[in-house]
């Protein structure tokens, strides 16, 4: 039986062992990924890990040094919001109008879309002011607006939350969600776990230009749980731990030397209740770990927080 063409869709972009070498320095090495319509791919990693280079390659701005890059449509419209947007000597309206013309939009459509975006990002009162005097957050809003003007099939966002206030972050998330529902493929770099959890279907962790881990949508959206290792319960709790709501498993700890060390896995939402119960019963907590979802990836998402933690530990 012949496969149904409308059902089997090829990816918008296929990267196969892609690498980039700048002046003899490898900045990206053997990165592979497929970008499909309506999917959201998060790229996380520390500064200099190759996130921006990868987005520039997807945007067609940087040529690959090795590997292969296949585009479904070579003239595909791409929206690209770089990490930093310069203060141009244009008003937002002038710049967005030019962008609309480059994309061949009709004047009425450009007007409608500009107004819609300015309202969404609460920038209507600045539509005719030169961007030279704009703050970082305002420039970031214009940056995002130019990338979304034509509802492109592929949207590349390099740290889109950077500089945005809370209402703008909410508006952006809502707007991007809507575009994703309508079939836009998203590839974004971010340090904010709530953005990744809310939006991403896949996560690629980059370190020194290499993909060191990928998390697929099943793993990402699996329920998170906590693993508590404890010992020394002297009094029996009113309700035994194994009968408390939220318990997933209970066993003797194999990792600890003490024979009375126990390890329990509990639903993340019930973790505090279990900890309180163990402490009230005279027990002592040896370790608590969050598992599933994005747990274990925080170190790649919040490098500043991690540096702060390490500093305070030392």
């Amino acid at each position: 039986m012949k496969p149904n063409r409308s059902v089997i869709q090829s990816p918008l972009i296929e990267l196969e062992r892609v690498g980039k070498i700048y002046h003899g320095v490898t900045v990206l090495d053997e990165v592979s990924m497929n970008i499909e319509s309506g999917s959201a791919t998060a790229i996380i990693g520390r500064n200099g890990s190759g996130k921006s280079t990868l987005l520039s390659i997807l945007g067609g701005l940087i040529q690959i040094s090795n590997g292969s890059l296949l585009r479904k449509d070579k003239r595909m419209q791409i929206g690209y919001a770089p990490e930093f947007f310069p203060p141009l000597k244009f008003t937002p309206e002038e710049f967005l109008r030019s962008v609309g013309r480059f994309q061949g939009l009709a004047p009425k459509e450009i007007d409608h879309r500009i107004t819609e975006l300015l309202v969404c990002f609460r920038l209507e009162s600045f539509r005719a002011r030169s961007m030279e005097s704009f703050s970082k957050g305002m420039l970031q809003k214009v940056n995002l607006m130019q990338s979304m003007l034509n509802r492109p099939p592929l949207l590349l966002l390099d740290e889109p939350m950077s500089g945005l206030d809370a209402p703008a972050q909410d508006s952006l998330l809502e707007f991007v969600h809507e575009m994703k529902r309508q079939g836009t493929a998203l590839v974004f770099s971010a340090h904010e776990s709530q953005w990744i959890e809310a939006l991403a279907d896949d996560v690629h962790v980059l370190h020194a230009g290499r993909t060191i881990r990928t998390v697929n949508r099943t793993e990402l959206h699996s329920s998170t749980y906590s693993r508590i290792v404890f010992k020394g319960i002297s009094q029996r709790p009113d309700t035994p731990l194994e009968q408390m709501p939220g318990i997933l498993s209970m066993a003797l700890s194999k990792e600890q030397q003490d024979a009375d060390c126990l390890v329990i896995s509990v639903q993340a939402a019930e973790c505090d209740t279990f900890l309180r119960t163990i402490l009230d019963a005279g027990g002592s907590i040896i370790s608590v770990e969050r598992k599933g979802g994005l747990s274990g990836l925080e170190v790649w998402m919040n490098p500043q927080e991690e540096a702060f933690k390490r500093g305070s530990e030392s």
């Binding site: 520039s56 040529q63 690209y80 000597k89 994309q103």
Partner: protein, 237 residues
């Protein structure tokens, strides 16, 4: 393409980077015609060289006026770095042709010449100025900051090329034997300058040969530039 050119022109004029090369050209032409009467074709040869230098400087300022990120964003929207490059070249060509007409017409309408110019000499002057203006722009394409990272190196290279171009006749006479092919590398400013100076006496075929020579040189430079601009990286630096 028209929307791209309009955008680039607006961006360039707002950057005010045009001021130095434009004012340099205006001052040089005004000084040249500060007294009268002037010989027609000798004056046109001199102003054509002024336009060549001015267009090279203007080309460099035009190609460097945009922020690298601004250029990245525009290239992504156009879906082609080559289209972006063509838009830049066409915008600069338009500016060069405007200056060409202004520089050729100015001495005629202000009565700076010793005799009437006539249609033949007017056309020769327009073509000669236009070609040298385009030659200046073609050279500047390779000296923009995305090609030559250090600004001081780019300016130094441009001055060296201008000197080699204007002194082309003398330098060519020094290149003998196996070095003769090197004459072809020299930007052909001197042949056009000579053709304009001797426009009244030179046969039409010799004149045509000079213009074809410089036209081929311009096409070659622009062709190499466009080919390379489609395969190079556009980083944010």
């Amino acid at each position: 393409m028209i929307s791209l050119m309009a955008y680039l022109m607006r961006s360039y004029t707002r950057s005010q980077r045009y001021f130095a090369p434009l004012s340099g050209m205006v001052i040089a032409v005004l000084v040249l015609y500060s007294y009268k009467p002037n010989p027609v074709m000798n004056s046109y040869a001199a102003t054509a060289v002024i336009l060549f230098i001015g267009c090279a400087a203007m080309g460099l300022s035009f190609l460097n006026h945009e922020h690298a990120v601004q250029r990245q964003v525009v290239i992504v929207h156009l879906r082609s770095a080559r289209i972006y490059s063509i838009g830049g070249i066409l915008s600069l060509t338009l500016l060069a042709l405007l200056l060409d007409v202004m520089i050729v017409v100015y001495p005629m309408i202000t009565g700076r010449f010793s005799e009437p110019v006539g249609i033949y000499r007017f056309l020769l002057a327009l073509i000669g100025h236009g070609l040298l203006g385009l030659l200046g722009i073609s050279i500047s394409l390779f000296l923009q900051s995305s090609w030559v990272a250090k600004r001081s190196h780019a300016v130094g290279l441009m001055l060296a090329i201008i000197i080699l171009s204007i002194g082309g006749t003398q330098i060519s006479s020094l290149l003998k034997g196996p070095l003769i092919p090197l004459r072809l590398i020299l930007p052909p400013v001197a042949p056009v300058m000579n053709a304009l100076m001797n426009g009244d006496t030179l046969p039409g075929s010799s004149m045509l040969l000079s213009f074809v020579h410089v036209s081929l040189y311009i096409f070659l430079l622009i062709g190499i530039y466009l080919f390379r601009s489609g395969t190079k990286d556009y980083s944010r630096i």
